[in-house]
């Protein structure tokens, strides 16, 4: 039985090792633990110099040269009218959290319109910086839903 204390310990160990995502799967259980990149040890994050996604979310003291390379934050907007869902109906965890890496085409959330669940897709690879709408909030066409920082080429 995994307790909240266990989870806190796992999170601490993941941060120490600069691991942002841990997935455990069995036929009857799936557990995914995701830590926000900005919570990770800055020195460890900076040491992963070959990873542009991690660099783009590094703290502001990471130097002007690095800041020049940071992409502008963009927003994903709703293309439907409905209720914004952070997670799929049968899932306990949200599809995304701030700091999470995303890939183009990935489903970041849903707009529920009656029986239909319209996907909110990632428009490019990047890192989530903020979720702009609360769960189950009513959104319209063009409502900004999610802010993300695209990966630099």
């Amino acid at each position: 039985m995994t307790t909240m204390e266990d989870l806190a310990e796992i999170k601490h160990l993941m941060m120490q090792a600069s691991i942002t995502k841990l997935t455990l799967t069995s036929p009857s259980l799936s557990l995914e633990i995701v830590t926000a990149a900005h919570e990770a040890d800055p020195s460890l994050a900076a040491s992963r110099g070959s990873n542009p996604g991690a660099l783009s979310d590094a703290p502001s003291d990471s130097g002007p040269a690095r800041a020049d390379k940071q992409a502008q934050v963009r927003t994903v907007r709703s293309r439907h009218i409905g209720r914004f869902q952070h997670r799929y109906l049968t899932r306990k965890l949200p599809a995304i959290i701030p700091g999470m890496r995303i890939v183009r085409g990935e489903i970041l959330g849903f707009i529920r319109d009656g029986m239909a669940m319209h996907p909110v897709h990632a428009e490019s690879d990047g890192t989530i910086t903020e979720i702009l709408q609360s769960p189950d909030s009513v959104v319209g066409y063009g409502t900004a839903l999610i802010a993300y920082r695209p990966c630099l080429p």
Partner: protein, 336 residues
């Protein structure tokens, strides 16, 4: 067209079944979860009886050999297109060369993979369902194998087009939309049952046990029937019957006292006494009950059984309306 890359045992083509031939000893076959099958076909604008792939073992993986519109329904599985995660219970577009991966279910047990137009396998006695007992129907009367290629039935004048830029569209599954279909927090599934012909032949203790105790789906369960473990059901006196016609849903009790729920691949006749019949509206829920899961029975009458069926039809009607809305939003030029 798709090519099967990874497949487990008992993965077969099924539609709603081969009805009308029980008198000749030909079983129904058909999808174990007919609601999921119908949903997938509704999303794609197919005839609701179009054939889909029934997937009871995982992982299952296919590659698109042409641009294809597919739908995945049934169990709550993790879906991936190439390496990108998608959600279950929706229709999706697969481009040539892309792969679709369906992982082990988090809940329930069978997925259905439908294609726009339905999978093109021969009609045998009015159905495309694989008849495992007779080894006919479906794809050469057998389960799918790695390397098999399946193509959809071409629809030159597709009545309902699909939006060309849509990559995925999800729908609310019945186990969330139908409150009385929900599985309890501890994973138990309650099935509604009508009394059957030999109900009065069982002892009072057996009848009480049937309604009041949990039943475990044993490993000796398959598409033909689910053999249950629990209390031993005893008869007031020895019951000897001639074989007679039976249908999916019938709960037989052999001399061992362990009940068997007859399912899609059931024999057409049997001589064991019948204590009850799972109502048609709940057959899909048995089909999704995993091996090892626990079920309970609750008694209903004929009117309640019909009302339960109506609720499913209302749910499917709501889905049809939602699907029509998605197509109405597509301008004629965009329709493919």
């Amino acid at each position: 067209m798709i090519e099967v890359l990874t497949v487990g045992a008992q993965t077969t083509i099924q539609d709603q079944g081969r009805l009308g031939f029980l008198r000749y000893g030909v079983g129904c076959a058909g999808a174990m979860d007919a609601v999921a099958l119908r949903c997938a076909n509704i999303w794609l604008g197919n005839d609701e009886n179009a054939a889909a792939i029934e997937i009871p073992s995982f992982p299952f993986k296919v590659r698109a050999l042409a641009d294809t519109h597919l739908a995945v329904s049934g169990a709550d599985s993790d879906i991936r297109v190439d390496d990108i995660p998608f959600s279950p219970w929706g229709r999706l577009a697969l481009k040539t060369g892309q792969t679709l991966h369906i992982g082990a279910p988090r809940r329930y047990s069978r997925c259905y993979l439908a294609v726009a137009g339905g999978w093109d396998v021969p009609l045998v006695l009015g159905s495309r369902s694989t008849q495992n007992r007779g080894s006919f129907g479906g794809l050469e009367g057998r389960g799918l194998s790695m390397g098999d290629r399946l193509r959809p039935i071409s629809r030159p004048e597709r009545s309902v087009p699909l939006p060309p830029d849509e990559t995925w569209l999800g729908f609310v599954p019945p186990y969330l939309a139908l409150p009385d279909a929900a599985v309890s927090q501890d994973g138990e599934c309650t099935l509604r049952v009508l009394r059957a012909g030999e109900y009065g032949h069982f002892t009072e203790a057996a009848i009480a046990a049937f309604w009041q105790t949990p039943w475990k789906v044993t490993m000796q369960s398959n598409r033909a029937g689910y053999r249950l473990a629990g209390e031993t059901l005893t008869f007031q006196k020895t019951v000897e019957m001639r074989s007679h016609g039976i249908v999916p849903g019938v709960v037989q009790v052999p001399p061992s006292g362990a009940p068997i729920i007859q399912l899609s691949d059931a024999h057409t006749a049997g001589g064991y006494p019948k204590i009850g019949t799972v109502i048609q509206a709940d057959l899909w829920r048995i089909g999704q009950a995993p091996l090892g899961s626990v079920i309970r029975f609750v008694e209903v009458d004929y009117e309640q059984a019909l009302q339960a069926l109506e609720k499913i039809e209302h749910y499917l009607n709501a889905l049809r309306l939602a699907v029509n809305d998605t197509w109405d939003a597509v301008s004629p030029k965009e329709q493919t």
